[in-house]
């Protein structure tokens, strides 16, 4: 503006710099390295330990078809390829999906406390899974039981209902509707659990999440939904950036707010539902990871979304490893035990921000 402002202001620039960001490129490289490490460690640990060197050699031999001299026995290879690898990759897939969905919901709802479950996906999936457990028919379609199918359908149905009822009330309307519908579904879940008798344990293991049942086929079914859904979200990062300023400003910046919100909500719910259907409910990954990533690289969704995917994959693969090391406890317990305190620390560090 006035020339004197500029002259006075220039020397101060830098001195008052508060927010330090990391270079996104460094964060991307770092998280990819961490992902590779999580893969090797996650595959290596278990009742039959596999040395990292063997792990890398088998992966290079079988997946990349590199000519590696064979120094391992056949049973090691079977354990690695048929048991460990699908499990670790499933954890990575679900972790990536939950983190992307969490970042999307937080941006869409402009709410730092949002997570992939905030609009009813979790309660819908839980009720679906519980009902499936009560049905005495056992069918398997492509290794997926009724439980997986009902959980997937329940999650999507719950979000659809919340959106149809809540969309006219703005963001607050959506959140409150999500809360109300979630409570209703939770009542249904409680009733179902009460009636489930001996099957209660099966419902519980869905509610706490885990990758015991991981297999290549299940992974192959969830993979396209999670990966394509996440890519579609990442391609709409610009809309999420516009929405940082609110609906009206986003419209001024060229975002078709109603359409983009519906599309992003649908995609994030699809990704969440696909993940939850094969893993059960796993908390805190979708809430925590996007915040950590935003602290590192800032709020630009073009970086936050892909980095969250990689970081979420690392985190959940790591949590699954810890769960196995602790004697196969549910992985949802591990993420909550680690995630809740981590989130509290994060809140304290950024406490100046959230009161507005």
């Amino acid at each position: 503006m006035a020339s004197e402002t500029r002259v006075v202001a220039a020397p101060l620039a830098g001195v008052r710099l508060r927010r330090r960001r990391w270079s996104p490129t460094i964060v991307v490289v770092g998280s990819l390295v961490a992902l590779a490490a999580a893969l090797v460690l996650g595959v290596g640990f278990g009742s039959v330990p596999i040395a990292p060197a063997d792990t890398i050699a088998i992966l290079a031999h079988r997946l990349l078809a590199l000519p590696v001299e064979r120094t391992w026995d056949a049973s090691t290879e079977t354990i690695l390829l048929e048991l460990r690898l699908p499990r670790v990759l499933s954890a990575m897939l679900v972790g990536a999906g939950l983190a992307v969905a969490g970042a999307t919901f937080q941006g869409l709802l402009r709410n730092p406390l949002a997570d992939p479950y905030v609009l009813g996906t979790a309660s819908g999936a839980a009720l679906g899974a519980a009902i499936a457990v009560l049905i005495p028919v056992r069918i398997l379609i492509l290794e997926l039981g009724l439980l997986n199918l009902f959980a997937f359908a329940g999650a999507l149905a719950a979000v659809f209902v919340v959106y149809r009822i809540g969309r006219s009330g703005g963001l607050t309307g959506l959140l409150l509707t999500g809360y109300a519908v979630g409570s209703l579904l939770a009542a249904g879940l409680a009733m179902t659990m009460y009636m489930s008798g001996a099957n209660l344990r099966q419902i519980f293991s869905f509610l706490l999440g885990g990758f015991d049942g991981a297999s290549w086929l299940r992974l192959a079914i969830a993979l396209p939904l999670v990966v394509l859904g996440s890519i579609a979200i990442i391609l709409r990062a610009r809309s999420l950036n516009g929405l940082l300023l609110g609906d009206e400003s986003a419209a001024h910046l060229g975002v078709d707010v109603r359409r983009e919100r519906a599309i992003l909500l649908g995609l994030a719910s699809l990704v969440t539902a696909a993940g939850v259907a094969i893993s059960g409910l796993i908390g805190f990954v979708g809430l925590l990871v996007p915040h950590l990533v935003r602290m590192a690289v800032g709020p630009d969704a073009r970086w936050v979304l892909p980095i969250s995917a990689v970081a979420g994959a690392c985190l959940l693969a790591g949590a699954d490893l810890v769960a196995r090391l602790l004697g196969d406890i549910p992985v949802g317990v591990v993420t909550a035990l680690v995630g809740a305190p981590a989130f509290l620390v994060l809140l304290r560090r950024t406490r100046s921000g959230y009161e507005q």
Partner: protein, 290 residues
């Protein structure tokens, strides 16, 4: 920034309505075809939940004009801006930007022609001042590759022009209300559109920044050719910095023209319900007549 604006201002194809008008004018043998207005409202009305807030507004604003909208609270001034920005569809009548009806333009196309300085926004996450201003480039960025060098240059230029260089790295939620208002102004300057809308751009600003903001608008208008439409409560600022005033009361345009004709004693008495002596002796008068 300045170079991009005029190019976007002139649409390549003459709209059907424009052709009809020129045909009619040719018949009546008036030689000059009038330039396509930057903004044109014809019989535009606006409703919120059935309540009419603007009725039958006819307004034509030429490219490069600088216009202030004044009037009492609730008169419909902000609604007029929302109509022009295309975030509110008219209940009847039409709104055109550069000769094209808004209903035929998509959001991106509108955002490349019209910037509206946002009201105070609550940011959900921590963002630096620079990151907020950079959002102004959204309509111009390549959707996949993100900001280019020209986008970064526009952001830097906008920050410089609004005088925010000392704030770039600060958290936009930790600066004062007035500073935030300037950040949002810089965001719209970075958007580099031929038309700039402002709703009460000076409410949280101190006297010096009010005058500087006005001088920036004059500069954008005169140097870059940006069409400026600003809603202002401060009649003294409006009269001093804007050659054309539109006075709105009860959802209708009651006067339109130069400040001295629009802000006559009778208009002030009847529209604002105060003695004209108080109206123009606004607090900023001292600064204006410095």
């Amino acid at each position: 920034m300045g170079a991009a604006a005029p190019a976007a201002a002139a649409p390549a194809r003459p709209p059907a309505f424009g052709r009809a008008v020129s045909a009619a004018l040719a018949v009546s043998a008036i030689p000059a075809v009038p330039a396509i207005p930057a903004v044109r409202l014809v019989g535009a009305s606006a409703r919120y939940r059935g309540r009419e807030v603007l009725r039958d507004v006819d307004l034509s604003i030429a490219p490069g004009e600088r216009l202030a909208v004044v009037g009492p609270n609730g008169a419909g001034k902000s609604t007029l801006l929302r109509l022009i920005a295309g975030v509110l569809a008219p209940a009847s009548g039409s709104v055109e930007i550069g000769g094209d009806p808004l209903s035929r333009l998509d959001r991106i196309a509108i955002a490349r022609r019209v910037a509206a300085v946002p009201q105070q926004v609550a940011l959900p996450f921590s963002m630096t001042v620079e990151e907020v201003v950079a959002l102004g480039r959204l309509p111009h960025e390549d959707p996949f590759r993100g900001p280019r060098e020209s986008d970064r240059a526009a952001v830097a230029a906008a920050i410089e022009r609004v005088g925010l260089a000392h704030l770039v790295g600060r958290d936009a939620r930790e600066i004062s209300l007035g500073e935030r208002q300037l950040v949002l102004l810089a965001l719209s300057v970075a958007q580099a559109t031929p038309i700039l809308l402002l709703d009460e751009p000076t409410v949280h600003l101190d006297l010096r920044h009010q005058v500087e903001a006005m001088e920036l608008l004059v500069d954008l208008n005169e140097r870059d050719g940006t069409t400026i439409i600003a809603v202002l409560h401060d009649l003294a600022l409006a009269a001093h910095f804007f050659p054309r005033l539109v006075l709105i009361a009860d959802g209708a345009v009651v006067a339109d023209g130069a400040p001295e004709t629009v802000l006559g004693p009778d208009a002030i008495r009847s529209v604002f319900g105060v003695d004209p002596v108080h109206a123009l002796r606004a607090p900023s008068e001292a600064a204006v007549s410095r």
